[in-house]
């Protein structure tokens, strides 16, 4: 029989895999980009470009890491 701790751990692992997936760096970059967008939007500088820029940077980085693994 699995203990409560094991069940909770499995539950947490499921949601981590569901939301974050194979590469946690992607999630970190998205969170940092959102924070940067929020910060820059409070200045006179346009902030809309930060999210697309984050995607342009993190997608190839994540792909290259996956390619190395494969």
């Amino acid at each position: 029989m699995r203990t409560l701790t094991q069940r909770l751990r499995a539950f947490g692992a499921f949601w981590y895999d569901f939301v974050v997936g194979d590469d946690w760096r992607v999630a970190v970059v998205v969170v940092v980009a959102l924070a940067a967008t929020f910060g820059v939007s409070k200045t006179s500088i346009a902030a809309w470009w930060i999210m697309p820029a984050a995607v342009v940077i993190i997608l190839p980085v994540s792909l290259w890491r996956a390619r190395k693994k494969s």
Partner: protein, 258 residues
Amino acid sequence: MTGTGGALFAAVFLACAVEAVEAVTIVLAAGTARDWKSAGYGVGAGLFALAVITAALGPAVTAIPLGALRLLVGGLLLVFGLQWMRKAVLRASGHKDLHDEEAIFQRELAAAKSADAQSRWAVPDWYSFTLSFKGVLLEGLEVVFIVLTFGANAHDVPLAALAAVIAVVLVVLVGVAIKAPLSKVPENTMKFVVAVMLTTFGIFWGAEGADAHWPGNDGALLVIAPIVALYALSLVAVLRRSAPRPTSPAPELQTAER
């Protein structure tokens, strides 16, 4: 239906159709190899669990103020979209095997045939029940997530739900009619398109939620989507050069699963 409404409908429809195809493959394997009655109970239990989750999450999601919702959901959609995009680009460039429903069906079928028979409570075959239940619940969770996030953000949950229902009913009807995995569905191409749409909406809503203002407002979506698609295709082209094994013919973004 507005342009944004059309994009919302298309994104939810495609994403839900893909998830439904995967769930149908699992249920078909459980029913064909073991016991249709138990597989049916598993589908029912899975749908009930999804209904409970939706009833709990739905009002909570729609009660969040729009700015905070767009920030949260935009971020989640972008992480989700980039996960899909990563797999789609790796598949299209030959670095990951294409998603093959026929192969998955045969694998599930073999596993189901070799498992021991065991009845529990009113369920004649527990293996069929749990296989179907897990398939419906796990694939269904993604459907619920997509419907709630897209629908709540666009202030049109009914349209998102309608797109999901049409997609799921269509796939289930075809699956029941042919009683075989839907291997002719261009699933890999659909996943690529869904990845582009999730990423596009994630970028757009995430930035809006973080108080950025897009030039052209909603019209920016019409610029972001093709740029994301072109960028992903260019990454496919670059990665194909270092594909682990030469494939003949070249692994195109295929129109039909083999």
